[in-house]
């Protein structure tokens, strides 16, 4: 059993053990979940090690049969794209557990069990190289999140949970159909095989087929990202979810969609991706500006952060569909950055909620006076989120915009407006919540306390990462770049091969299809 399998199996084992732990001793359950998730995190750090030996390949690969007929394989492995998303999941799980320590006081056992199951599903999604296995993990991660929102959420939790579930299901059904179609055509679920077959022209899809398959995958992922106008499940899900649910949802789960776009949509259906480029980019840019403008007028802090996610993830989609090295590098870096800074924002909003039981901005004001530490951490997180240089988001945003500028400068002009707007809604939020005279209703029931040691311990790793990823990208970016380089190669050669196999007559038509837009 290699390290990757261990990292994947431990959360599942933890989930099963938690289920049989006695339910009356909540602290034992909390402690168990925390220690287990910390162990997983520490182990997962070792996953980065083989990069320098394998260079541009995959590492920690396991490829064994799972089901004979139809042939489904347990094929998992890592590359520079998967690696950091796995680490993001393993880092944010213990963080979420720490955040929930006091916040979750009923059905404690089930809560932590679901959190560990969620971790299992998320890691699985990022490491699966078999389409069916990927689909299984995709669904596995959906279930615990549904319950986290539906059971431990706020007043309208059922509506939000069902909306979240139906939205995602609608997409995943399309994806399943596409996966089965591919299997019927190629006789394999294996992603590596499929890409290889497609590239060498052994598996030929008509442009019609390719377009439909691309769209099936794309819609599933776009809902998850979420891309405008498929985003309306997100604000509801976030507002109703408990803090840990919001953190995992924003920080990791949305990345499943982004990851899928990069991993599957580009290398498997390059022509269709190119064909749809311009309208996808337009949706992404609308999302950037629209999300920011709607965030600006939200009276509810969590909704504000949720809409800001719509805006930030628009940058990711823009970067991916620029099909450039800079754009893709920036997009993947931005996935990680968004995970860290938005995860931290939801955490801090959660801390505020625990103190006053309100998410409404108007119930706050002048919080920096009683809670200077909380205000400072929020300030740093906010600055990261609005892309201040020396903090993480800047590098990602910069590369995305640079990538899109190389393709179409107008896209960059439009998207960069989002950078201005992000400062507007965030600074306004900060001013209304933290600055000014202290709102008298704040200390109505209890004194308003600053962050305690546990809360700080959960926030500090994220703050450190914001600075680290902002000033020293060498730790992260080369691996991401290497993986993206391969994906760009794959999406390119796919085009050329097809052009060759289709014969001279269609070449001109296809060229126009690919390069013309």
């Amino acid at each position: 059993m290699n390290l990757l399998n261990l990292v994947l199996a431990l959360p599942l084992a933890g989930f099963l053990v938690t289920l049989v732990l006695p339910k009356n001793n909540a602290n034992v359950i909390r402690l168990f979940a925390l220690i287990l998730s910390l162990a997983v995190f520490v182990l997962s750090l070792g996953l980065a090690a083989p990069f320098h030996e394998t260079g541009n390949g995959n590492w920690f690969v396991t490829d064994v049969p799972w089901i004979q007929s139809p042939e489904i394989r347990y094929h998992v492995g890592l590359d520079g794209l998967s690696l950091w998303l796995v680490l993001l999941s393993t880092l944010l799980t213990p963080v979420s557990i720490l955040v929930s320590w006091k916040y979750i006081d009923r059905r404690v056992k089930e809560f932590y069990a679901f959190l560990l199951l969620l971790e299992f599903g998320l890691i699985g999604v990022f490491v699966a190289w078999d389409l069916f296995l990927f689909y299984v993990f995709w669904e596995v991660s959906l279930v615990p999140m549904y319950f986290l929102i539906g059971v431990w959420g706020h007043e309208r939790r059922i509506y939000a949970a069902v909306k979240f579930f139906l939205y995602t299901m609608a997409g995943s059904v399309l994806m399943l159909a596409a996966i089965i179609f591919l299997y019927n055509k190629a006789g394999t679920f294996d992603y590596v095989n499929l890409v290889d077959l497609l590239q060498r022209g052994r598996l030929v899809l008509t442009s019609q087929e390719q377009l439909l398959l691309f769209l099936a995958f794309f819609v599933a992922f776009a809902i998850k990202v979420p891309l405008f106008p498929l985003h309306t499940w997100l604000p509801d899900a976030h507002v109703e979810a408990p803090t840990a649910g919001s953190i995992m949802l924003a920080a990791v789960m949305l990345k499943m969609g982004c990851y899928g776009l990069v991993r599957f949509c580009l290398p498997m259906f390059p022509q269709a991706a190119h064909r749809c480029q311009s309208w996808i980019v337009i949706l992404a840019i609308i999302g950037i500006i629209y999300g920011a403008l709607v965030a600006m007028v939200q009276p509810n802090m969590k909704k504000l952060v949720a809409y800001s996610s719509v805006s930030h993830l628009g940058f990711v989609v823009l970067g991916v569909f620029s099909f450039t090295q800079n754009g893709l590098d920036g997009a993947v870096y931005q996935m990680l950055n968004h995970g860290i800074s938005t995860g931290a924002l939801f955490m801090l909003v959660g801390y505020l909620y625990e103190r006053t039981h309100s998410l409404e901005i108007k119930d706050y004001g002048g919080v920096s006076t009683p809670a200077p530490l909380l205000a400072t951490v929020f300030l740093i997180t906010m600055l990261a989120s609005i892309g201040l240089p020396t903090l993480n988001n800047f590098v990602g945003e910069y590369l995305v915009l640079q990538g899109s500028a190389a393709v179409n400068f107008n896209w960059t002009i439009a998207a960069a407006v989002g950078v201005i707007l992000s400062a507007c809604y965030m600074l306004w939020l900060y001013q209304r919540v933290f600055v000014g005279e202290t709102n008298k209703s704040l200390s109505h029931h209890h004194p308003f306390l600053d962050m305690n040691g546990r809360e700080l311990a959960a926030a500090l790793p994220l703050v450190v990462l914001m600075v680290w990823m902002g000033v020293y990208t060498k730790t992260f970016l080369p691996m991401v770049s290497a993986a993206n380089q391969r994906i760009i190669e794959q999406s390119k050669t796919g085009v050329e091969t097809l052009v060759e196999t289709q014969g001279g007559k269609r070449i001109a038509e296809l060229r126009e299809l690919v390069h013309g837009r």
Partner: protein
């Protein structure tokens, strides 16, 4: 290796120490750490510059790769050339004096450690801005100083107006930075790098653009950034509001250093600007319009800091006139002398405010000459310097600018000369209202301590001799060749005459017969009120941009589009499926017999359909 990194990192260390543990320290060690970090940085600048000697070419140091993606490589590289050397001396030198002054000024304010840690952080970013060897590192400093400006304008966190001003400063600067970043994207797309050396080497062989082209676009986008940071029309609106911050902040950030970053950037990118006459014209016109407009507003203001703030906007306009006329070294020259006399004006104003227990309104001052004579003495030096009195520092640099302006387009010279007269008038007005006549306030004025007037004394000396002592254009001549052409003495006499005339007019109106201003104000009526209310530009921006954006987002995008339209479709789909599901549920009664019946019915229907289809095929 000169270890240039020490220059910005020393203040950063001061920031980290005071930021992390300053709260638990008494005031004295906090100020020692803050001042020492800047003093050491200043010392290191002196040591480096003396070690590097004449600096004929730039000295570049590479530390590590910040990020690499594809062929784009951005390094953390610092560089010193003569332009940077001038900036380094101004930033660390004036910065040090202001830090010392702040020990006294901030002694009785809360948040002492917070103030000094932000100031140190500012020094770090400002030094990064001037030392960066590529556009992106300059941008790091550029946004970083904006952050510190935000933090320090909003330093008095309990005041709502301070919070508003801070937010406004950041957002308006972000609009400028939008231009800056777009310019960088264009640079990378076309030249493949952000390093000054590589980009400028690629631009040099390019021809001068007779009509708008790539270089014009890049230059103008960079200039959008400059109008934000250096408070030029149309993005100047944040600077007057920025006076909400403590006075040392106004002196350091909003007069001497940060706001001049746009001038530095324009000079740094001069290779690009010079190849686009159109961009140069835009720079000059924006500069002269800003200079004149801000000066008219300055005449009408009563808040002593506001008067000096509009004066800063106006003087920055002069620097851009120089840049637009191609006399970049004259712009930098004025940047240096302005740093001396404007820092002194603000710190002197701070000393007055300090003496009067927080009073900033000129109408409640008067007759302070005898009560705080040292402050008056040093302020007088700054006053004569900014008025362009011959021999004082401002005279030399303003002279250079007006000469260059006359050389490129005479009308700019004439507007500049009139503005110089207005400048002399409104600064004199402030001086007379403050120090002459009889005292109109209630507080008992007291002179500031030595720690405050000591730095003022140094700045006063610099304001007097800084002009002929430091011949900046001569030093920068290898980078920016001196303008040819005869030095026209007449033009100098004219501008001096306007300056002295402004002082004389102010003396007449505010000392000899103080009733005149009201008469004029009443006579001009609506025009006076329009100027007094700053041409209602803030109100215009609010009505045309801010309100439609906020209200439109709320009503149209959120309520209508998001909650109404999209969710309406989603929920409608859900309702519809529930209805359909309700009908379908009738089929799923749970009774085996009814299932059997339906299966039979289904089979029959299916067979019939198949039969019909088969028949159809045959």
């Amino acid at each position: 290796m000169q270890h240039l990194w020490l220059i910005p990192l020393l203040p950063l260390a001061g920031f980290l120490i005071n930021g992390l543990i300053g709260k638990r320290l008494p005031n004295f060690p906090v100020s020692v750490i803050a001042v020492a970090s800047v003093a050491l940085s200043f010392g290191w600048v002196l040591k480096t510059l003396s070690a590097l000697g004449p600096l004929e070419t730039a000295h570049v140091e590479h530390y590590y790769t910040w990020f690499q993606s594809g062929t784009l490589n951005v390094g953390v590289d610092l560089a010193v050339d003569r332009l940077t050397a001038v900036m380094l001396l101004v930033v660390t030198g004036v910065g040090l004096l202001i830090h010392i002054y702040a020990i006294g000024y901030m002694a009785h304010e809360g948040g002492y450690y917070r103030f000094f840690s932000y100031m140190n952080l500012f020094m770090f970013f400002m030094l990064t801005l001037v030392l960066g060897a590529n556009f992106l590192l300059m941008f790091v400093g550029w946004e970083g100083v904006g952050l510190c400006s935000y933090l320090l304008i909003g330093f008095y966190t309990l005041k709502k107006s301070a919070g508003d001003a801070a937010k406004k400063a950041f957002i308006v600067n972000r609009i400028g930075d939008f231009g800056f970043s777009l310019a960088m994207f264009l640079v990378v797309v076309n030249f493949g790098s952000l390093d000054f050396q590589k980009v400028f080497d690629a631009v040099r062989p390019m021809p001068v653009e007779q009509s708008a082209g790539l270089l014009t676009a890049i230059a103008l986008l960079f200039f959008v950034g400059a109008t934000g940071k250096s408070a030029q029309v149309p993005l100047y609106v944040w600077l007057p509001d920025a006076m909400e911050g403590p006075t040392p902040v106004s002196a350091l950030i909003h007069a001497a250093t940060m706001v001049t970053a746009g001038v530095y950037m324009t000079a740094r990118a001069s290779v690009i600007f010079e190849r686009s006459p159109m961009a140069m014209d835009v720079v000059a016109v924006v500069g002269v319009v800003t200079a004149a407009m801000a000066a008219t507003i300055g005449i009408t203001q009563f808040d002593i800091k506001k008067v000096f703030a509009y004066s800063t906007v106006s003087q920055l306009g002069y620097m851009f006139i120089a840049c637009g006329a191609g006399a970049f070294s004259a712009g930098i020259y004025h940047l240096v002398t302005h740093a001396f006399f404007k820092a002194l004006l603000f710190l002197g104003a701070g000393s007055v405010i300090h003496a009067l227990g927080g009073e900033q309104d000129l109408r409640h001052m008067g007759g302070l000459m005898k009560k705080i004579p040292i402050t008056f003495g040093v302020l007088a030096c700054a006053w004569l310097a900014i008025s362009g009195v011959p021999g004082f520092s401002g005279f030399y640099s303003k002279d250079e600018i007006l000469m260059a302006a006359h050389h490129s387009s005479p009308w700019i010279y004439w507007v500049g000369v009139v503005t110089a007269g207005m400048t002399a008038f409104y600064v004199s007005r402030a001086m007379f209202l403050c120090f002459f006549g009889s005292y109109r306030g209630h507080h008992h004025p007291h002179e500031s301590p030595f720690v405050m007037w000591g730095p003022l004394g140094v700045l006063a000396v610099l304001s007097v001799i800084g002009g002929w002592c430091f011949n900046v254009p001569h030093y920068l001549a290898p980078m920016f060749p001196l303008a040819e052409g005869a030095h026209d003495e007449t033009l100098v006499y004219i501008s001096v005459a306007f300056g002295l005339g402004g002082i004389a007019l102010a003396f007449l109106m505010y000392v000899v017969s103080p009733g005149i201003p009201d008469v004029i104000a009443n006579a001009l009526g609506p025009i006076y009120r329009l100027v007094y209310h700053k041409y209602l530009v803030d109100e215009l921006y609010g009505a045309v941009i801010v309100s439609p954006l906020v209200n439109g987002s709320r009503a149209l995008l959120w309520r209508f589009m998001d909650a109404g339209l999209i969710d309406g479709i989603v929920n409608g789909t859900a309702t519809m499926s529930r209805t359909v599901g309700g009908v379908l549920r009738l089929f799923q009664s749970g009774s085996i017999r009814s299932y059997a019946a339906w299966v039979t019915v289904g089979c029959v229907v299916l067979l019939m359909v198949l039969g019909v289809m088969a028949g159809g095929v045959q």
